[in-house]
Amino acid sequence: MNERERLEVLKDILFTDDRDYADKITDRIVQLEQILHDRNKLSGKVDPIVSAQLEAFTKSIPDTLGPVITATLKEEIKHHKDEVVDALYPVLGKMIKKYIAQEMKVLSEKIDEQFSFVKSAKRKIRSIFGNEKEEELLLSELSMAKIEQVFLIERESGILKGGYSKTATIDEELISGMLTAIKSFVEDAFNKGGQSLELIEYELYQIHIQSFVTHYVAVVISGNYLTRSKNKVQDLIFNFYNKYMAMNLDLVMDLGQGRGEDGEPVTRSDIEKELSKYFGNAKI
């Protein structure tokens, strides 16, 4: 045994613990290298940390970045007023135009009401010189708008999600399919930047259509459909759709707003109950 070998034996005797420790460290390094080179293993270790960081970052955005974003936006708007106006004008302009037109109609109807004594006199004259009785003329004037049918329809496929009807008609699924085809055709043919078909009129009936992102609501109305009634119908639709969205949100967010809180999917009969509740006895 030469000197070197003797030294090794001596080392073994004196540094046994250290050697074990060094071996353990070596094994651990090999394991870590394997993890680093194996995408799945690395992902298993790193993903939860990244997710936690992302979640914390997302939660902190309003506090940390919010003021910066707001300040930046303010600054950008201040320096690029013309561009902002250009970008918003088509949207706002359309909304304002629509709002003013609707309000003008309401105003016009109110003025008509104020001059109803003139109408009454006219009615009397018509009844004297015409064949119709004054009561009949009055009745026809008083033919108030009534909700006949309501449909909640999937916007793209035209599949009926639920319907409410006071009178028996042809199959509601066929109606919703055809309505969707007509709506799609009109919107496609007169493609004017995201506008939607809102009203279909036939003789004494009107179909009021309110489009949302994934669905639309179609309300069939008979009688004299004035702008006042239109506003009421719109309110009913928005209230119902709000409830419908809450019912669906309950399935994933447990908001306690609707039927879905017990984890069951919203069924057609649930939707039809709600449609009946909102539109069944509504006065418009």
Partner: protein, 163 residues
């Protein structure tokens, strides 16, 4: 709970899309040819082997030789497509692969069945040879007039949609 699915029938002019639907829905046939304008919608509820029932909303689109010109609005939200060709008119299936590519491009990831119609007018052996020569795969060979394989084709689509 009964599910509803939108199924489109596509194909060239006069291949018998409307007749196939009429045979399937009302088990009837008419020799009088009336061109479909725009779209016609019908419905049939089918009972499936799984014990569930499915409401098939059948969109019968007007025939066109240029499938890429079909209005996208009609295709949106489609759950399944039945492409129909006329076995007596090669012009309706000569470019079938191109037509199917256009359909797949427009309605992504939905089941598509290929149906050769008007089998009552030809010798099945001749059609088989013709399709083989043109390397055409057809899922069903039907006759709206006699009713051959019509129900089978629609039920196959319903089954695929039930999954």
């Amino acid at each position: 709970m009964q599910k509803s699915k939108k199924v489109l029938l596509l194909g060239h002019f006069g291949v018998g899309k409307t007749s196939l639907i009429r045979r399937f829905v009302s088990d009837s046939f008419s020799d009088a040819y009336k061109v479909t304008i725009g779209v016609h919608i019908t419905k049939k509820v089918v009972e499936l082997p799984s014990g569930t029932s499915l409401s098939m909303i059948l969109w019968d689109l007007e025939g066109t030789d240029e499938l890429h010109l079909i209005r996208n609005a009609y295709l949106m939200g489609t759950h399944g497509v039945i492409f129909v060709f006329d076995v007596t008119r090669p012009a309706t299936f000569q470019n079938i692969q191109r037509d199917l590519d256009i359909i797949q491009e427009k309605v992504k990831k939905v089941p598509v069945l290929v149906v050769g119609n008007k089998m009552d007018l030809v010798d099945p052996a001749d059609v088989k040879r013709l399709l083989e020569e043109n390397d055409i795969q057809s899922d069903y060979m039907t006759s709206a007039k006699t009713g051959d394989a019509v129900n089978e084709a629609f039920l196959e689509m319903a089954t695929q949609l039930d999954i």
